[in-house]
């Protein structure tokens, strides 16, 4: 057990030196482009920042799509000469009656794989919609897969818009990723106050230009509030233009009245449409509605043909900037809800790093001295292994660019405490062997050999815990699982390769010796 071939020694020490090098990189300040700029990333709990989990509320999209579906269905039935009556949308279900007992014909068309209103998904081998027919009453609703597809597509759109909005704010290296079918995870390192971003993400930013219905003519209109909820107006449901037609929006100071406004430009098609609509409605009021709240409702004095316009509300410069940002980045397909938020201030992060470092050093020294006290010279072997173990562990964490969290630091300290266990198992075994075996070489040899199964079993059990924690844990706890798991592997490596090689020097020095 104590003999190493030259090649093996080379590989062992090469690995150690390589990993020490990577460990050392953490203390250098290399520029980003260099290959050797690898570093252990600090988690949000250590560097400060915000973590947000958003959920797409898909109910409005489902209803919107079903409304469209009703229109398409009418057309579809008409084209295929199927008579129907009483078509209604209720509880996310479309209901209608077939008149002439032609349900077979309907089903045949509805389940045709090339039909236009009930998509067939080859990858799921399923249809977009489920249908149920009872006594000529047809009920249609989204199938499981139809809902999944709908959610995924609105998630993709939302993700794009969220990314644009956050990029516009200009935060430091944000992480924006999908989580499951309807969630978006956002990490904003270094962000102290997520309030502005939360506000920006909380708005769907659905902008519409609609006429104000004057007088008694309120048919086809709805009652909407102004933003401050003080006044309300009847607004036509017919949308002249929406935010999609905007190509630019910027905050500006209106010199005439000395107020902050948002200037915007329409795209070409939008400009034409807007020109026509304003030309034929001079004298009427035009409402600018954002997320069902009226921002302003100015009177149209003349046709606006330039394709540009101005929104003046009760803006501060900040709110005008944010409105312009929202208009530029586009509307979310569905409202987003913040279902989890974790924010750590930078000073707490710094305190945590300090506390983690101090407890690591103290724990490390305590263990080192205890081992020296317990095992004297053998303790030196254990202590050297422990030091190498720590360096190698940080080296591995650097190579895999792991994220170090506060529980992760705890995992490293715990590794320090538990890593010596392997050496303890071996040393105890060596001492036992040494009782009946005066040859130190023999005692070490059998000691290492016989302790092996216990060392492996003992470490694998902890490794199992770490793996489960890695897959089921979230955020900082995942960081703990990583350091604990990697720590076990580096422990086995240093104890069985580096420590064992150190032992061979010890054995050469004391050939026949009674260990106390």
């Amino acid at each position: 057990m104590l003999y190493f071939s030259k090649l093996k020694l080379f590989v062992i020490y090469f690995t150690i030196i390589l990993l020490s090098f990577f460990c050392f990189l953490n203390f250098l300040n290399l520029n980003k482009e260099s290959f050797f700029s690898k570093k252990v990333n600090l988690g949000l709990d250590l560097q400060g920042g915000s973590y947000l989990l958003l959920e797409v509320d898909s109910t409005p999209i489902i209803n919107q799509n079903l409304q469209q579906k009703v229109l398409n269905l009418r057309k579809f039935l008409k084209e295929n000469k199927i008579k129907y009556k009483n078509i209604v949308l209720q509880n996310e279900t479309i209901n209608f009656n077939l008149v002439n007992d032609n349900s077979d014909k309907f089903v045949e068309l509805f389940l045709n794989q090339n039909n236009t209103i009930n998509l067939y998904y080859g990858k799921y081998r399923a249809y977009e919609m489920d249908h149920l027919i009872e006594n000529n009453l047809v009920k249609i609703q989204y199938s499981k897969y139809g809902l999944v597809e709908l959610k995924i597509s609105s998630l993709d759109q939302s993700l794009e818009i969220v990314r644009r909005r956050i990029d516009e704010v200009g935060t430091n290296e944000p992480t924006i990723i999908k989580r499951g079918n309807d969630r978006i995870l956002i990490e904003l390192p270094g962000l102290e106050d997520p309030n502005r971003i939360k506000k920006l993400l909380g708005k769907t930013a659905n902008l519409t230009f609609r006429l104000v219905s004057e007088g008694e003519n309120v048919f086809g209109s709805e009652l909407l509030f102004f933003e401050d909820e003080s006044k309300k107006l009847n607004i036509s449901k017919r949308v002249i233009l929406n935010g999609d037609s905007l190509i630019n929006a910027q905050p500006a100071l209106d010199n005439k009245n000395n107020i902050t406004v948002v200037n915007f430009n329409f795209d070409r098609a939008g400009a034409k449409k807007f020109g026509r609509a304003t030309a034929s409605n001079v004298g009427k009021r035009l409402a600018i509605v954002l997320d069902n709240k009226i921002i302003s409702a100015p009177v149209i004095r003349e046709a606006i043909l330039s394709g540009s316009g101005q929104i003046s509300g009760d803006f501060s410069f900040q709110s005008a900037t944010d409105l312009a940002l929202l208009l530029r980045s586009g509307a979310l397909p569905a409202p987003l809800k913040i279902i989890e938020e974790r924010t750590v201030g930078p000073d707490l992060g710094e305190d945590s790093i300090k506390a983690g470092a101090i407890s690591l050093v103290i724990g490390f020294l305590l263990v080192i001295f205890y081992m020296l006290y317990k095992y004297r010279q053998l303790g030196i072997i254990a202590d050297f292994s422990l030091i190498v173990n720590l360096i190698v562990l940080i080296g591995v964490l650097t190579i895999i660019e792991a994220t170090l969290t506060l529980p992760g630091i705890a995992g490293i300290i715990l590794t320090v405490g538990m890593a010596v266990d392997a050496n303890v198992l071996i040393f105890e075994r060596i001492k036992e062997e040494n009782k009946n075996e005066p040859s130190i070489i023999h005692a070490f040899d059998t000691g290492y050999k016989k302790a092996q199964s216990a060392v492996l079993d003992a470490n694998i059990t902890t490794l199992i815990s770490a793996i489960i924690l890695f897959f089921l844990g979230s955020g900082p706890v995942k960081g703990f699982a990583v350091t604990l798991g990697v720590g076990i592997i580096t422990t086995l490596f240093t104890v069985y390769f580096f420590g064992r090689h150190l032992s061979s020097f010890y054995v050469k020095k004391y050939k026949y010796y009674k260990l106390s």
Binding site: D351, I464, L472, F480
Partner: protein, 298 residues
Amino acid sequence: MKKIFNFTKYYKKFNVASLILIFLSLLLLMFKGLNFGVDFKGGTLIEIRSENNTVNIAQIRQSFNKMKLGEVNVKKFGKENDYLVKIQLRESNNPDFISEINQKLSADLGSSINFRRVENVGPKVSGELLRAGLLAVFLSLAAMLFYIWIRFEWQFSLAAIAAIVHDVIITVGLFSFFSYEINLSIVAALLTIVGYSMNDTVVIFDRIRENLRKYTKIPISEISNTSTNETLSRTIITSVTTLLALFSIYFFGGEILKGFSFAMIVGVVIGTYSSIFVATPILNYTNVDSKAVLKTDV
């Protein structure tokens, strides 16, 4: 020659003690329950630091009472001017929720208030986290059961799992008794305890199996006692080094890691105790003999 300590003599007494502790823990869990943190119950947690030394906890409580946020829990957190506030209510529709609290609090206390940490967890997420946490604990138990069953015989597996379940129940029972908060890091601690306790038990079992193979005529009770003695100094030294590391986290690692390191310290102590006084006697009661371990060739 070291003195052989007769553990067998104490098995009965300690088994009764363990059973009582488990029973009490279960009673506590049933009637007192656990103090779940925002991770598992949902709600808002804010770590506050005031710039002003004259601010006291009563003023903070009063200010929160005025805001009418429902159940609010304020406690000191580490240093002089640091407090931890838990609010049951969670306002998801108002993005200004947190900044409004900050403004009102600063105005009431007449001092600038620094929110060092804010955690806001919705009911859906907290439910999922709780389920994932429970799943993690059960999965790790199952994985251990499976691992030991593969490496050893079923008798060993049974005894080892009984010991871990014993450790987890008593640790959680202690958390209920002291009303300490259960959050994500406590679940991490529980899983590590499962791993550690198993580690400790496996080392003794490994020796028992070895001795069972060596001495086919000696009864299990005697073999396990010798094996426990042979591995005793390792058991103690490893517990000591692990505890040294854990105490270092507990005293110097900052307030956030206190709960985690407390759970681990308790778990290591109970885990060490259970390998000697729970797992080993249960293995004895199964009457495992040399035949059982000789047929396998691990």
